[in-house]
């Protein structure tokens, strides 16, 4: 179904090729996993598979690419979209509409289907992915996981022969990952070819037939799933083991010790009463049903609490309330036994959101760090910070020119420079390889050891096991 023969590709205005002599074969109904460190060329392979290279991205493509037995260049791009369905890492990249229903229908309408045929194609997918209650919602109000489901539904409704998924589990909760895995197994059984690019490996063992490890644009290793285990340390990969049964229970034990249940008293000599107290808060967005009613929680200081739960249950909203970006209808907050509200919350806390592009403003990485330190009034050793976040070679680069992983690390470094008493990170490791995930875990752990209340909104079990002390599982009730 997919054949790469000595494929190399160089992006425009770049001297170093993004891919070099890649050879791959994926048969019909097979599943291939491509993994590797951030920036190794996975997304570039994906862009070739779905035809965005050379149609949308110029540059130099050499070698032979065969899709469905036909040269890539001989496929018209709009016909390629009938063969290959794509799910990108950032689902917002694929939205053309503004409401869920319109988004799901658009591609089918442009294939010339009647309203009845569209309904027939969409209904099973909508039910399968649990989107029926969201059909009239605006895409901008959905959680990241829900957005991903919308894109997946719109792609599956088109019944492509190849499904290409780039970091499909980056924003999904454990139950959704289990469901996705089940769905993909069924699609594979029905003859669909799967090409998956992911850093998170634990969910893929029962699904993939071949794996490839990319390094600096080259296929460094190729084989079965066991190949990952053998070369894990060499390529800085994430954990490859972790039973799906554990995930279904809510919290997985990927490797190492399981996170302790919520409520374990803190150690390291910090008084258990210190921390961030949420007291009886109620909140609802305008013209929406209440999201929280009389919610009370305690997040201990010096501890890292993982806030997880199903997509769309209000984790990010809770974080926005806690740092003062939203105002609760009722209730109050206490930080280290003192009442705190409004601007004081913003002054003493930091929230790192998923969209890193909007969190970087200066002309160089160094200037970005200096500005963050100046705003917080904290002393700064630029070299030390750059080194500890492995950003030394980017010192004079424009922050917006960095890779996704580098931007993520820089944004977190800036947040830590504020020396916050409350630090909340929203999916900080989405799209990060194992090496960078462990690096971040260490930095987060240091912040907690300085006495901060640290909350991680995450579905990343490896990260939880790496650094979290407590887990708070949110659920939608009523």
């Amino acid at each position: 179904m997919i054949d790469f023969k000595n494929v190399s590709y160089t992006y425009p205005y770049q001297s170093v090729p993004a891919l070099r002599n890649i050879n791959l074969h994926v048969g019909r109904g097979e599943a291939l996993l491509l993994t590797g460190a951030s920036g190794c060329g996975k997304s570039t392979v994906g862009r070739i598979v779905n035809g965005l290279i050379p149609e949308h991205f110029a540059g130099t493509l050499s070698g032979q690419v065969l899709i469905d037995g036909k040269e890539l260049r001989d496929h018209a791009f709009h016909d390629m979209t009938q063969i290959v369905g794509s799910l990108f890492q950032d689902p917002e990249q694929q939205f053309l509409s503004t409401t869920v229903n319109d988004e799901l229908r658009t591609a089918l309408e442009w294939r010339g289907l009647s309203a009845k045929e569209i309904d027939e194609a969409l209904h099973p997918v909508i039910d399968r992915l649990g989107l029926r209650s969201k059909l009239d919602d605006s895409l901008f109000t959905l959680s990241e996981g829900e957005k991903q489901k919308v894109v997946l539904a719109s792609v599956l409704a088109l019944k492509p022969r190849v499904l290409m998924l780039d970091e499909p589990t980056a924003n999904l909760d454990p139950i959704a990952v289990t469901e996705l895995c089940k769905l993909l197994r069924e699609l594979k059984r029905d003859g669909m070819t799967l090409v998956i690019f992911d850093h998170r490996l634990y969910w893929l063992e029962s699904l993939v037939d071949h794996v490839g490890i990319l390094e600096d644009g080259q296929l460094a290793e190729h084989g079965d799933f066991q190949t990952l285990e053998k070369h894990r340390d060499r390529f800085g990969l994430r954990a490859v083991r972790g039973g799906m049964s554990n995930i279904e229970q809510g919290i997985s034990n990927v490797e190492g010790n399981p996170p302790r249940p919520f409520g374990t008293p803190p150690k390291r000599g910090i008084s258990p009463s210190l921390g961030f107290q949420v007291s009886s808060i109620s909140f609802a967005y305008p013209r929406k049903a209440p999201l929280f009613e009389e919610l009370s929680l305690h997040f201990p200081a010096g501890k890292i609490t993982a806030l997880c739960g199903t997509n769309g249950c209000g984790k990010t909203t809770l974080a926005r309330l806690m740092i003062g970006l939203e105002k609760p209808k009722e209730g109050a907050f206490q930080l280290n036994e003192e009442s705190i509200a409004g601007r004081d919350l913003l002054k003493t806390s930091s929230l790192v959101l998923q969209n890193t592009e909007l969190q970087l403003y200066m002309r160089s990485v160094e200037e970005e760090l200096t500005s963050a330190a100046r705003a917080a009034g904290t002393p700064l050793d630029v070299n030390e910070i750059l080194e500890s976040f492995q950003l030394s070679n980017t010192r004079n680069r424009h922050p917006q020119s960095l890779s996704g992983g580098q931007r993520q690390r820089l944004v977190i470094a800036c947040a830590l420079l504020k020396n916050p008493k409350l630090l909340i990170l929203d999916e900080p490791t989405s799209g990060l390889d194992g090496r960078n995930m462990r690096l971040l875990a260490g930095q987060i752990r240091e912040a907690a050891e300085r006495g901060a209340v640290v909350i991680l909104i995450t579905h990343d079990h490896e990260l939880m096991n790496e650094c979290c002390d407590l887990v708070l599982n949110c659920a939608i009730t009523g």
Partner: protein
């Protein structure tokens, strides 16, 4: 997160209108605004179009944009005054002269926002294709209209990010540190805007928008509301065109001052 492109807006009376009617209305108003110079007429059209926009209940967005336009006008007044002080041959600008370009922008902004915030992009693309408009026209128009809610969402996120970082961005800050504030706002927004434009192009390509026969929409008939809306626009334009020029006295007075000054010099 709060909704910047509320799906409820598409179920409002503006949202129920046929997209062809809205686009034709927007196009007609923008064409007429080239020729209408009467500030009273512009004021009248601005008020009518404001009513349309406000009916979508997107108050925060609406008033933020109005505040920006107002800020632009105040800046232009300030610069006009400064130029008069520095350049002696500079003609004195009346209030009406400085406000007219902003009054012209007002109905256009209202109509553009009202159309953008009350449409369903996918369906609208299909309907426009049925109008037999060339792809080169309807696709950029729709992508541009779709760009507005996405961009507004980015502006909202940027404001939150700056607040978290402890960087104040306000109109006083813009006046005190103009370059710094502009950089803080514009660098991420320009980068996001470029990426958003690229993403929308890829999203449209992947959905095969613009290729083949396009959607089977059957015969889409205009409804009573569509006809009423078109009639309302025509009536508003007619009234605006026939309104007496209220600002003329002020301009005459300005000219008199000029004459007197010239006379005094002589």
């Amino acid at each position: 997160m709060r909704d910047v492109s509320n799906s409820k807006a598409s179920s409002s009376w503006m949202g129920q209108l046929d997209i062809r009617v809205k686009v034709v209305g927007l196009f007609t108003v923008s064409m007429m605004l080239i020729f209408i110079k009467n500030p009273v007429a512009l004021l009248f059209l601005g008020a009518c179009s404001s009513a349309c926009l406000l009916s979508l209940k997107k108050y925060r967005v609406t008033f933020t944009i109005y505040a920006l336009v107002l800020f632009g006008w105040v800046c232009s007044l300030g610069f006009s005054w400064l130029l008069e002080q520095l350049v002696s041959s500079m003609k004195e600008q009346s209030l009406v002269q400085t406000v007219t370009p902003f009054l012209r922008m007002w109905p256009l902004t209202n109509m553009g926002l009202a159309v953008s915030l009350s449409m369903e992009v996918g369906h609208s693309l299909g309907v426009l294709k049925k109008l037999r408009l060339p792809r080169i026209i309807y696709l950029p128009v729709m992508v541009a209209l779709r760009f507005i809610p996405g961009f507004m969402n980015d502006v909202k996120q940027l404001r939150d990010c700056l607040r978290i970082r402890g960087i104040p961005v306000s109109i006083p800050q813009l006046v005190v540190h103009p370059l710094r504030t502009i950089r803080l706002l514009f660098v991420p927004l320009v980068i996001r805007a470029l990426r958003l434009a690229d993403e929308l192009a890829v999203a449209a390509e992947l959905k095969r928008v613009g290729y083949g026969k396009g959607p089977q929409l059957g015969r889409v008939r205009l409804r009573c509301n569509d006809h009423l809306f078109l009639a309302g626009i025509a009536l508003a334009l007619l009234v605006a065109w026939s309104l007496p020029r209220g600002g003329s006295n002020i301009e005459c007075r300005t000219r008199n001052i000029e004459c007197r000054r010239i006379g005094e010099e002589e």
